[in-house]
Symmetry: C2
Subunit: 205 residues, 2 copies
């Protein structure tokens, strides 16, 4: 079976199911500790007053991220991959079946912390949000072009640490746009809620 054909079929079917129920889905990607869960907390804070949200949280192990989101009072399906380095359309479909899609407007999927493998496995989301952190250094965009090209929006997070990391944020934004001229880039200090409104706008929510 041609892996990429089956992978894109699974993604298409998920997208169809979501559209039938009028649910928008965002796939949140990025390396370990880039700030994906913190950003999702921020998105929920901003959006919960005007839309109903559910989250699928993928991790190799533990329920740490799911618990950090559950305290915000939104339904969370925790997927423990047991070692798999990415989520795929099939795993996400099973997660979706544990949710009442008629009761939600927005589904946020937190993918596994990994800047490589998830790029090859679309899950059937409307937008892919890539969370990069200045603490990963100045080269993570040019060294991971496949992932940057797959994303619709890139967040450059933890800019409070840009000086301590000696990372030039403008240069990093230019690198991201050079790899993917279509991408929207915003900067955040997700821990303090700074820039989250720009992320909401960039996602068209």
């Amino acid at each position: 079976v041609d892996l990429s054909k089956r992978t894109s079929e699974l993604a298409d079917r998920n997208l169809e199911l979501l559209d039938e129920h009028g649910v928008r889905a965002i796939d949140v990607l990025g390396s370990v500790g880039s700030g994906k869960t913190t950003l999702i907390n921020g998105l929920i804070d901003q959006l919960k007053p005007r839309m109903s949200i559910a989250v699928i949280a993928g991790d190799i192990t533990t329920r740490i991220d799911a618990e950090r989101i559950e305290v915000q009072g939104v339904p969370v399906v925790q997927i423990q991959t047991g070692g798999a380095c990415h989520l795929d359309g099939e795993i996400v479909r099973r997660g979706m079946q544990r949710l009442d899609l008629d009761a939600i407007d927005l589904l946020i999927v937190e993918n596994v912390g990994n800047l490589i493998c998830p790029a090859a496995f679309p899950i059937g989301a409307h937008k892919r949000l890539l969370v990069l952190s200045v603490t990963e250094g100045p080269y993570m965009a040019v060294k991971h072009p496949i992932m940057v090209r797959q994303a619709d929006v890139a967040v450059i997070n933890k800019i409070d640490l840009a000086e301590a990391m000696r990372v030039d944020v403008d240069r990093l934004m230019a690198d991201v746009r050079q790899v993917n001229p279509e991408i929207e880039v915003v900067t955040t200090v997700a821990r303090d809620g700074e820039g989250i409104a720009d992320v909401v706008a960039a996602l068209g929510l």
Copy 2:
């Protein structure tokens, strides 16, 4: 073919080849931007006066890391994986064949930035050195037990940023030891060369 059987055979053969030539090998692992190349720069600074070193640098794309090491005057074989998220015994064997193993004492392999997949692919090194960064947050050890269990030495790097990240380094060290009681843990500020001597001692070099 049983993948894990073939994988461990490849690793064993590499180890045999290294031992025949009296070469010690270290596999340097860790997430994107954790500080692997910076730490390798520091190890070369400390060890070059008393042993001859070569490096195999793995990356999906670019020669950025190889160039940062070449300026130290040691032979570097750059392996561009083209997208593969980990090095394996076969790829590393091909890299070794481009080196004169009789002319070196120490081979350092920089694995691909990824805290998941490389754990399942031993390359045939004597020691596995895992580089964690406080900037990845407080949970990266408990969330990646497979990788932590595979490592002989763990470095907690960028401790100059522990306060800004609100990460308790002692707690993190305890987490690492809980996941793998055999592991040696040291802390570094690799960028400034701090703690590198402890890493050398922990590796038995």
